[in-house]
Each structure stands twice: as structure tokens, then as C-alpha cells.
Symmetry: C2
């Protein structure tokens, strides 16, 4: 893909006031042919191997993919079908659930810091520190002054990560209200999917507008030069999975990782590889 | 695959005195057709999803895959091509390297315990506590009395894991001396693979017989009813990857995981899924 057709450029949150209503959940910007898509996926596995290999030679860089979205937006599907292309080596996946009692006793970034990717790794956060200005805000779990202060804290935190060599890739999987309904109904239709359903999903859905407002603030206040937000249309699953993969591929391509080139005395090593005994 | 053609039965280490020379690194017992293989891989992803889903309903079980083998045996390849079938959700992968100073200050199982799989997860150890009776024994890194005591400690530890609901699947990737030579030469042939090579590999290879003796003791003394060892022929990569996948598939099939069946009032939930606004 040429420089002037970057998906990151196409999906990056613009500066200025943001309403999530301004993003089309059903769009497919820059969607490639199936053939191109397969080619991209192959490239990804190669890029990730190089990125990981580079770190064994002392490279200190890492990537952090942050996935956020309403229920049914497809965080799990993206992890399986986009991140899954990489294979388990070099991926550090964390699903952040409701904080434990111990986690609540610390600053909201405490449990996040413990799961940051090591050099050479691609960290994947399935939910993240953004829940502390999303569910926490919608349900008023802390006083407003406390969550209000978190936007700046998050920006400072992500600047710190970027300065330390971590490329932060933040993706909002943008599912529409109608598509969420269809997907929840489908879960009810299939008994094997009932385990994915709980009444809380409906209660959260009832707060749709509050969540959209909270996401709007996140996108408006935390899309920085250091760590911009990308809005991925999530109503079409195949497109959604490809788009996240492509954002990763563009990111890794830009990082341009190289295999370490140790100075080996190949001839002598060859000789020392004793013949069969 | 029918019960009387279990790969676990075919590859399980027998009781009695063991020499690794007794295992054929070039064999392909029970190798299926390419079609069957693809079918198995699909089944695996489904089984793993069920296993993970079950834990969300309160299931406390986990699986721990322990991978050991000489350099070039293909631990990384197995992780990518066999474990990789599962996707990142539900996999906890750990590569154990040379212990850190902090790790050395603790019992050899300390760092292992920290990485045990949580309920619903498949933990994958790329090297493991067995290094403490392999490299440690070959290089005499601790007194003999100390590593000698570890076989019993390991058996007790694994019994404890099994009692706690973890199925321990231990796989020795059995590569031959000649195949190792070929693979090391190939790394020297391809500049892009030089980063995988270091002089230490040749020094370790020079200790081949010592390592085989150490592996023999591991297989003889630590293949228990609770946690048997399986010897996977590793000279043929495709077979090797399939075999490990198949051992996992058999294990998960036997565990027979089920999706949780919450008692949902489907009709009422359906109604509450408000129509589009």
C-alpha cells in the first residue's frame, strides 16, 4: 500500500470536537481484494518475526495495541483473526476485567503498568485503562473530579510509553446500535452462545448514549500526536478484522525492524559442526 | 480418531529403563492425511473455545503443555504452528530463559509457579523446570545432590498441579544428531537466520551425549501416571507440529469441555432488546 493510501491516515481521529455519530460504523475505507488481504497477512507474520528477532539483538522497542468498543463490537474476533496471525511467540495478550479488590486499592494505571509489553513484543489490551473513563464515568463509580483528571493522566502515561520506545496503537471498534441489537439477538438464538450473554449486556445497552458520549470525550481528549486513536468501522466483521491487522502492519512496516546481523565466522563455525558420529 | 489409535498411547514413554536412542526421531506414527489434519485443526479451535468458555462459568481446569528438546528440535515451530491454531485468547505462553539473579535466589520452581495457567487457559512452557535437571546437570551448575533431589521435587510438584485440576502434557521433541547438524548448517547458509545462531549452540552440541543421558533420566524418572512424558519424533517438521497439535486435541477431547448453560429467559431478554432508536 502506497504512502498516500495509509489506513492510519484514513481512520485517525481528527482534532477538534468529536461525536461518535460522525463515524460510519458500516464503512469499509481502503478495503482491499481478498488476494491483497492474504498477502498482507503473510507480510505481517514476517514483520512480527523480524520485530521480535530485533529485540534479541538488543532492540528496546515494543508495540501496544489497545482495543476498546461496545459489547459485540468484536474485540475477541479481532484478537483471534487479526492478532492471531502472529502466533503466540511475541504476543502478550491481556483481557482487563472488572478490577479486583487489590487493583482498586492502587492507582488505576497500576494494573496496566504490570502488563506493558516487553521489548520485541506486541502487547494487546482487550479493554484497558480507558475503562476508567468509560464504565467508571457512565456508572459514576468515582467522583467526577477523579475521572476528569484521568484524561490528562492517561495522556501523560502514553507519552511516557512512547518516549520509552513503545508504539501505542489505540483502536475504537465502532459498532452501530442496530448491529449490536442484531448480534445480541443472534446470541439468544443460539444456545451454544448463551454463555456469552448476560443481563448486564442489556443494562449497558440501555446506557448507549452515555457510553457514546464517554467515547466521544476519550477520542477528543486522548487522541494525541504521541498516541492517536483510530476508529475502525465494526459492523462488517471481515473488514473490521482486516483493518486492525492493516493498522498493525502499517505500524510495523514503519518501525522497519531488521534481523540482528551478528558477526559470525561462518567458515569456521561450519567446520566445527562435526559430522555425524 | 478412535480410542484404540490414540497418539498419546503411541508416544507415551514406557516404564522401565530409558535411553533416548530407543526412540526414532524420524518416525511418523499415526500420521493422518492432509485432509484429516486440517479437520483436526478446526476441531482444536472449537475445543479450546469450549474449554475457555467453560471456565467463565466457574470451571477450574487448565492445561499445561511443557515443551523440551535440543536446540533446533523445533519448540518455536511447534508453538507457532500447533499452539498457534488456538489464537491468543486462552493461551499463556512463556519462554523460560537463563534464570535471572532474582530467580536464582529462589527455589527452582519459584519462577515456574508464577507462570502456571489460570483456569480455562492452556499454558505453554517453552523450556521449563526440566532445564534444572538438564542444562544444570550437564554443566554442573549445582552440586549433584541438589539436582538429584529435583526429580522427586518435580514429580511432587506435578502431582500437585494435577490434583489442582491442571492436565500436564509433557512433550520431548526428539531431534536426531544428524538433523540438528543439517538445521544448524542451514542457519549458517541464510544470513537472515544468523541471529538464531550463536557459538554456544556448537558448544552445547559437543555435549550431545551428556544431554541425551540427562533426557533419558528425565523420561525415566519423571514420566508418572499423573504427568507422563510423550516423545514426539521431530526430524520431520510437519509431522512434529501435527503430533503436538494432536496430543493437545486428544487431551482436550478427553476433558470434554462444555459451554456453560446459563438459565436465560430468552423471550423476556428478546423483548428487552429495544428496537433501533
Amino acid at each position: 500500500m502506497s504512502k498516500d493510501a495509509s489506513l492510519r491516515d484514513a481512520l485517525r481521529v481528527p482534532t477538534g470536537p468529536i461525536s461518535t455519530a460522525g463515524f460510519d460504523a458500516g464503512g469499509r475505507p481502503l478495503a482491499p481484494s481478498a488476494k491483497k488481504m492474504a498477502q498482507h497477512l503473510e507480510e505481517m507474520a514476517d514483520l512480527q518475526e523480524r520485530f521480535w528477532a530485533e529485540s534479541t539483538g538488543g532492540g528496546g522497542r515494543s508495540v501496544l495495541l489497545v482495543l476498546q468498543g461496545m459489547d459485540t463490537a468484536g474485540k475477541g474476533g479481532v484478537v483471534t483473526h487479526a492478532v492471531g496471525v502472529f502466533g503466540p511467540i511475541g504476543i502478550e495478550y491481556t483481557a482487563f476485567k472488572k478490577p479486583t479488590k487489590e487493583e482498586l486499592e492502587h492507582d488505576f494505571l497500576w494494573r496496566i503498568r504490570k502488563r506493558l509489553p516487553r521489548p520485541g513484543m506486541i502487547g494487546v489490551f482487550d479493554r484497558s485503562h480507558y475503562e476508567d473513563v468509560l464504565v467508571v464515568r457512565v456508572h459514576g463509580l468515582v467522583p467526577q473530579a477523579e475521572w476528569e483528571a484521568r484524561y490528562d493522566a492517561i495522556n501523560a502515561f502514553e507519552q511516557e510509553l512512547t518516549d520509552g520506545g513503545t508504539t501505542v496503537l489505540k483502536v475504537f471498534l465502532n459498532v452501530s446500535y442496530d448491529t449490536q441489537r442484531e448480534r445480541l439477538l443472534r446470541r439468544l438464538d443460539e444456545p451454544e452462545k448463551h454463555w456469552k450473554f448476560n443481563e448486564g449486556d442489556i443494562l449497558e445497552r440501555a446506557r448507549w448514549d452515555d457510553y457514546q458520549a464517554a467515547y466521544g470525550s476519550v477520542l477528543e481528549r486522548c487522541s494525541t500526536d504521541a498516541a492517536p486513536w483510530y476508529v475502525v468501522p465494526a459492523d462488517h466483521k471481515t473488514y473490521r478484522n482486516w483493518a486492525v491487522a492493516e493498522l498493525l502492519r502499517e505500524t510495523l512496516t514503519e518501525l522497519d525492524p531488521h534481523y540482528p546481523q551478528p558477526d559470525l565466522d561462518v567458515a569456521s563455525l561450519r567446520e566445527r559442526l562435526a559430522p555425524p558420529h
